[in-house]
Symmetry: C2
Subunit: 206 residues, 2 copies
Amino acid sequence: MVTSHWTATPAQASLRRRGAVLERAILDAALEQLSTVGWKGLTMEGVAAGAQTGKAAVYRRWPSKEDLVADALQAGLPRLEDAPDLGGVREDLLTLCRRARDAMFSRPGFALRAVIHECDPAQAERLHDVIIKGVVEPTVKLLREVITRGIERGEVRSDAANGYVFDAIPAMMMYRAKLCASEWNDRDLEELIDQLMLPLLRPTRG
Amino acid sequence: MVTSHWTATPAQASLRRRGAVLERAILDAALEQLSTVGWKGLTMEGVAAGAQTGKAAVYRRWPSKEDLVADALQAGLPRLEDAPDLGGVREDLLTLCRRARDAMFSRPGFALRAVIHECDPAQAERLHDVIIKGVVEPTVKLLREVITRGIERGEVRSDAANGYVFDAIPAMMMYRAKLCASEWNDRDLEELIDQLMLPLLRPTRG
């Protein structure tokens, strides 16, 4: 029997979704809530309504808001791609920055930033764990690869592969997005690389 | 007539405070609320209770939460001191960083960061104006002075006095305080200067 999607009420529709499909709808609705009303504004009721299901269906799978949001972030985070290898540190860093910018301004990116800004590490340890393991560490890994390759080519000073250098791009991107509402267009990213990263990385001479 | 502070009820006490004294108590209470429950948690009722006065006394002076918080931040922000001039860019930057750290972890600092993290520039234009004019611009001014003096001494490359360089320290301090709960002890600050700022500033040779 084929029942038209258009004639089913939301409640009826939800009955026909099972397992992974319903879970996906709930996680999507959680990301949507996070990116619009933020962590503090998100409610289990709101997520259930967004997923066109009942509150019980949400609580059955996730006993708390923190559990739900941790899974939603995990499911929504962009997959780690390989580090670019375009033959020069400038192009490689620009490529990473463009990818980071596109991720920041995606729905999961807005959701993630809502959590970062609204939760202290101590308040929401589990969420911060997802952020550190799912975003910060993979980003540092890519930056480390690009910078290490630059050192091997002699393009980058030999002691530049350290935590302060790796954090500079994410720190600047978060700071200006937050404080100046910068959207980091391509021109801004080029200036970031040319005025901050290349001087920071250039080999020591003399 | 001397009335003991200890026998007066809060409501009676509030009646005897006038003008500037009561205003100061309300602004202090607003900073206290911001640094504990944050921008979204702050209510005019909570501020009135903290200042041991009535809600009407708050609304009479500040018609909205945004007006009150803007004035509280403005009144609580540390005064701009002169840029340090210790003879070298490393010591000057370290001094600025220690001052910034002490301000960040003061009560007005916690209040300010609550506002930065919870409000988007578009949502709370007036508050962001206070932050930009009261904190960001004065900080950039001090960094510019220290870096310009370094250029004049030949210690710093001639093209280093730009916005990306000026933003590097505030961006790193905010990023790690937020994401890693760093408290920026003296050792961390020295590493920030030695591993990020000095390589970034060193003169170009060859």
